[in-house]
Symmetry: C2
Subunit: 167 residues, 2 copies
């Protein structure tokens, strides 16, 4: 550890307040990447809320539906792996989706530990409405395709590095 030069890294260290150029650098909390991501994530949730309300969905439920539209009859574990959520979050969430009539949960015949989550007709039909949601969100972000893709790749790479650092 001592042989490796300590890399000064700004993602969590508050930047100094000295102006490097014509524009002062943000200091403290505002210089922390994690806080910017925290803020952006909450902003997305808030932006989604009125759009998803007519569908009767919360944002995490929407993510689950998106996953099922891609891969209907996924197991709880597959949903969890896909979304980075555990069964503590998914079980009650899926129960509520089932109560809403959007999905059904069925024990897998081959491996009875597994539960497959199937879309109902109503769940399938909802996919059409999701197009409007995606369109509205796309506009709300004010990003071009290239901008969004660039950010997305950086964020995914960051996530992977963080998860790897925690192993």
């Amino acid at each position: 550890m001592k042989s490796a030069p300590q890399q000064e890294n700004p993602s969590a260290l508050p930047a100094s307040s000295s102006p490097a150029a014509s524009q002062p650098l943000p200091a403290g909390l505002d210089a922390m990447l994690c806080f910017a991501i925290y803020g952006a994530a909450h902003a997305f949730t808030r932006t989604y809320k009125p759009l998803l309300e007519p569908l009767g969905l919360t944002y995490p439920q929407y993510l689950v539906m998106l996953t099922l539209w891609e891969d209907d009859a996924s197991t709880v574990k597959q949903l969890g792996d896909r979304l980075g959520l555990d069964s503590g979050t998914l079980s009650p969430l899926l129960k509520r989706l089932e109560l809403s009539g959007l999905v059904t949960r069925k024990r897998n015949r081959q491996d009875e530990r597994q539960v497959n989550v199937h879309l109902t007709d109503a769940g399938l039909a909802m996919k059409q409405q999701a197009v409007g949601v995606m369109s509205a969100i796309g506009q709300a972000t004010g990003c071009t395709r290239d901008e969004a893709n660039a950010m997305l790749e950086e964020l995914v790479a960051l996530k992977e590095r963080l998860l790897k650092a925690g192993e």
Copy 2:
């Protein structure tokens, strides 16, 4: 609405699966910027957890402490404005911090609707330990200073656009 050309925006629209170059573009959920941010935010929380455990803090509590180290005796409203959280979140959170002996909450004499949140000696002293946390997080992200700053600025701008779109 009809006169404005519909801008195709990838931040929420699943990208097509056709390879544009040597590397296939992610499709569906993986093409959604909001999901990348959701994932990165959770990854940060997870990365922070073992680092903050010795301090007895959760990540949101840590953000509050950071804010108070910057501006001791902030009101609940100021904390909320700073962190984008409402009193429903902050009141119980601050209560727990008070129970931990890190802060005290006092009614403001000039305007009794307000409550000022003061750091205790223990709360002040904890700032030293936070340096280690920041350092570890900085390393875990694997970002250079310039990379982190660039991402941070984009994310902040995105957050502002999202919040503005919701008005």
